[in-house]
């Protein structure tokens, strides 16, 4: 176990270095932020001064190394535009994103796991066909469209819920459902496929030959095995959600990390872009690690080495 943790830690470090490097390069390829930041009537000297103030006049390699050096000390730099430490900006926005992610994720699981199991048991019936078709539509439909349709129906027409914004629990409902529906569409089909595969396994027939009750067969013999691929996928879904649902947060004016990142890109706020992307990468690494640990709990054949 300690060796496993150590190896994992090194791998995570490599991933984060790779991510920081590519983000740095890509961000700098988008152009010069000074052109966007400077006043209309700024002279060339003004712009040069601003460039020096931001440290953008230094060679790229030097800029990158200094960013990495500070990042290792927990300092992700200073936002060009918002004039505040990147860590502070992210910390302010993170609770909203985590709240939305948790709500969306739990809802997605509550929808997809039971639904996937039910249609696997009722395979090739009307239920199966209808739910599978809905899941495919949900997977194909763009998130913004689902969000807007929900707004039109529940906020504009029925006036049950607020259109957008951040406040009481009511404000959470529509964005959470928007996220959950997309996630659930993907997961439901996976739960169904995985469940069907396990239900066709020889050991399910053995369980049946022992005269076990159907619910014992379903929950003791089939469910655990069927959840292995689902956990992998759900982990990725969760990582995606906690790193900021860019589109959903934008539609619902949700003050999360996603919107912070989108604005940072518009304004070529390099330190902020890097900070947000790095945070997202860190979430992916952490959640993948948790998924690996969860495998050991589900599948005793897996040993952490």
């Amino acid at each position: 176990m300690p060796l496993f943790l150590f190896k994992r830690f090194l791998q995570a470090l490599l991933v984060l270095i790779g991510v920081s490097f590519s983000t740095f390069i890509v961000a700098h390829m988008t152009g010069d932020p000074v052109e966007l930041m400077a006043r209309e009537n700024a002279t060339l000297e003004d712009k040069q001064a601003l460039r020096e103030f931001l440290g953008l006049d230094r060679p790229l390699a030097e800029q990158y190394l200094s960013f990495v050096g500070k990042a290792l000390q927990g300092d992700l730099g200073y936002s060009f535009v918002q004039q505040a430490p990147v860590t502070q900006l992210i910390a302010e926005r993170l609770p909203a994103t985590l709240l939305l992610a948790a709500a969306g994720f739990v809802l997605a699981l509550l929808i997809s796991v039971p639904l996937g199991i039910i249609i696997a048991l009722k395979r090739n019936t009307v239920w199966d066909v209808v739910v599978t078709a809905l899941a495919m539509i949900g997977q194909a439909a763009p998130g913004f469209w689902i969000g807007l349709m929900l707004v039109v129906l529940f906020a504009v027409e029925l006036k049950l819920l607020p259109v957008s914004g951040y406040g009481g629990p009511l404000y959470l409902v529509l964005p959470a459902i928007t996220l959950a529906l997309q996630s659930a569409a993907r997961l439901t089909r996976l739960v169904r496929a995985s469940m069907l595969e396990v239900l066709n396994a020889d050991y399910i027939r053995t369980a049946r030959s022992k005269g076990l009750r159907e619910r014992t067969i379903l929950f003791i013999h089939a469910f655990r095995g069927a959840m292995i691929p689902v956990v992998t996928m759900a982990g990725l879904e969760l990582a995606e959600l906690v790193s900021g649902a860019f589109i959903t947060e934008t539609i619902f004016a949700w003050p999360g990390v996603g919107r912070l990142a989108v604005n940072a890109v518009y304004q070529r706020d390099f330190p902020l872009i890097q900070g947000v992307v790095l945070m997202a990468a860190a979430f992916f690494v952490i959640i993948n690690f948790l998924v690996d640990v969860l495998y050991v709990v589900i599948d005793p054949r897996v040993k952490l080495k």
Binding site: D202, R208, K210, G211, T216, I220
Partner: protein, 327 residues
């Protein structure tokens, strides 16, 4: 109970496949006395496993159509029996040993869990009682250090040990009828003999009835009282083991025997039956074996030979059987 242990009359099993219906078992009738050991032999796809699986409806009911005029175990008819009542028979009355112990055991559950769940369900044993009985069973099937093995997972056991666990599971509820579906096919040759001997000795000490499904005719010689030969979903010959081996009457049985290597006669050349078994999706009129049969008559091509009781105790479905007695 003096009636038959297993009574199957006019059983037909049809699968719905994408390529149309597959006629896996056709008009099969079979009786098994209490304590009797029979072998069912046939090539892959001859319907031997399907026949036994359909007894307790272990086939996927969505794609399978089972019809029979009688299907009874230990005097209890299974036709139209509700699923719940059927569950009560699985284990204490009829139990199964499957072919591949690697896939037939749940990889995520311990040996102990898989061994005790049947007893706890059927005999209502408590955790400790069931565990004690499980340890006894593991000992009986020859597993060394059962106290260690009981908490292990199937992948921590060798293939032979897994099959011993499978046998222990099948015996857990003291069944009256044990159905062994090619239990040695997936094992090493040396292990095969041990498993056969083990099952044989357990059968003898418990006196339960047993059906051993295999494609290995030689294996049944010392195991079975009676051998049933299946071809293309039908029984073509059913005879006491001694009679069948010394004087096979159906040309297919004779062909099977000739293709079996004999340890006591290494100089006789093995011969194989020419041709392939028919596609179970297409039913040709007449005897299914006729196209491969050297003794086929004109009527074999058009009329299905009925399975008829013979004076010497066998049942035979052939219009032109081999002449009697060439020991």
């Amino acid at each position: 109970m003096s009636g038959p242990m297993l009574d199957v009359q006019n059983l037909s099993v049809t699968f719905q496949s994408d390529g149309g219906p597959v006629y896996a078992v056709r008009d099969l009738s079979l009786r098994l006395a209490p304590g009797e050991v029979i072998g069912i032999v046939g090539e892959s796809g001859s319907g031997k496993s399907v026949t036994m699986m359909s007894v307790l409806r272990l086939l996927d009911t969505r794609r399978t159509e089972i019809s029979a005029t009688e299907l009874a175990v230990d005097g209890q008819s299974l036709l139209g029996l509700p699923a719940r009542a059927l569950q009560d028979l699985r284990g204490p009355v009829v139990s199964y040993i499957f072919q591949d112990p690697l896939t037939a055991l749940n990889p995520l559950l311990t040996v102990g869990r898989q061994l005790t769940e049947g007893m706890r369900r059927h005999a209502g044993l408590g955790r400790a009682e069931a565990r004690a009985k499980a340890l006894d069973l593991l000992r009986r099937v020859g597993i060394p250090a059962p106290e260690l093995r009981i908490d292990q997972l199937p992948h921590q056991l060798s293939g032979g040990m897994r099959q011993r666990v499978m046998i222990a599971i099948a015996l857990a509820c003291d069944p009256k009828l044990l159905i062994a579906d090619e239990p040695t096919t997936a094992l090493d040759v040396t292990v095969q003999a041990e498993i056969v001997r083990l099952v044989q000795s357990i059968q003898a000490e418990r006196g339960m009835a047993m059906v051993w499904v295999t494609h290995d005719l030689a294996l049944l010689a010392r195991l079975a009282d009676r051998v049933v030969v299946m071809y293309a979903g039908r029984i073509i010959e059913d005879a006491p083991a001694r009679t069948l081996y010394s004087s096979p009457a159906h040309p297919y049985t004779a062909g099977l025997l000739a293709s079996t290597s004999r340890i006591d006669d290494p100089f006789t050349e093995q011969t194989s039956i020419p041709g392939m078994p028919p596609d179970p999706r297409r039913i040709a009129p007449g005897c299914s074996f006729a196209p491969r049969c050297t003794r086929a008559l004109a009527q074999c091509q058009t009329v299905v030979p009925p399975l008829v009781q013979q004076p010497d105790g066998r049942r035979l479905a052939c219009f032109n059987p081999l002449p009697e007695a060439h020991t």
